[in-house]
Amino acid sequence: MTPPPAPVDDFDLHGYVDHQLPPARREEVATYLAANPEAAARVADYQSQNQALGAAFEGVLAEPVPPAMLTRRRPWLGAITRIAAALALLFTGGTAGWLAHDSLLAPSAIERTVAEPAAYAHRAFAGEFRHPVEIWGDNEPHLVTWLSSRLGMPVRPPDLNQAGYWLVGGRLLPARGGAAAQFMYQDDKGGRITLYVRTGIIGNSESRFQFFDQQGVRLVYWVDGPVGYALTGPVDREHLLHAAQLAYGQTKR
């Protein structure tokens, strides 16, 4: 007499769905499913999830691979480019100095030098009631003159009225190898977004929006020549992108 099969548990059901059971066990589970409609329904749902995932992302597999991904970068070449860029900065009298060497190569560097500090700065000041800014928006000419002189290039807050935001003001922020600026905006309900501006970025002349949206964290950031921008706030994607487009249109070099 053969012993009765081991009871079927949740993990067996997943193993069945994912074709990861040994053949003998697979058969036992199949027999079990035939007699248990509730379990069979769950298995069918799990299978549908896999199919839906496949359908949702199958297009990506067919996309042509960007050429940049196929070329192997040589570390020493990267180092030489970095040094050259740093030297160029020195000779052109750039105020940003050594910022160069961590913002040159990998896109993740942009996250480190623009997106991440922008997120921290937003966290520090957006909830501030009495002192959200150093210089209020009603003194905009002074704000512009001061920040431009500290950042070493003309920096002015874009007008985001069309997106429903008015300027609260701005402040100077410390940044590795230099300084950065934060402009704060507010809507009629008191919702705040901040625009972080960082100068002295090298090696990324491309201007494209990158959107970060994961579990309530939302920011759009982009690089325009030597300037990096990040717009941060707890607003929906379309809203944030709209404001970012306005900012981009007015700051574009």
Partner: protein, 169 residues
Amino acid sequence: MDDIAQQISEQIPHLRRYARALARDRTRADDLVQDCLERAWSRLHLWQPGSNLKAWLFTILHNLHANQVRKLKRALDNVPLSESHLSASTPATQMQQLEVKGITDALQRLSEEQRAVVLLVGLEEMSYQEAAKVLDVPIGTVMSRLHRGRERVRQLLADQGQPVLRRVK
């Protein structure tokens, strides 16, 4: 060496697909893959020939992603979210797209840990063992995350009153 270059490039479409599903945003996803490849090339000496190259590449990609999420999330953790603001304007077009977005939306509402397992197993068709290797967790953890993740997706899709997409074979 060319052989390894060939093997790596064969994985690029899969890395891109996984990154797209993780990050949702196309640019960010491709940047992740680019970072992953650069890191893989610079650390190729750490890869043991004959071992699972796919799992190794996915591990790098996954860690890059997890680091970014952790940092940015930490940075924004204490920002008070005004709820009224969040729900203030959802354009009508978005409602229309909801049906197509059912599974991807449900995916975004999983925890990072559950999402990774659901994607590695359900989309990339990795074995539980491979997934455990990529995520550097015991296989039992993979199984329980997989179970909780799939149950959550089931529940989310049921709440939307939307049948999961079924394909006629």
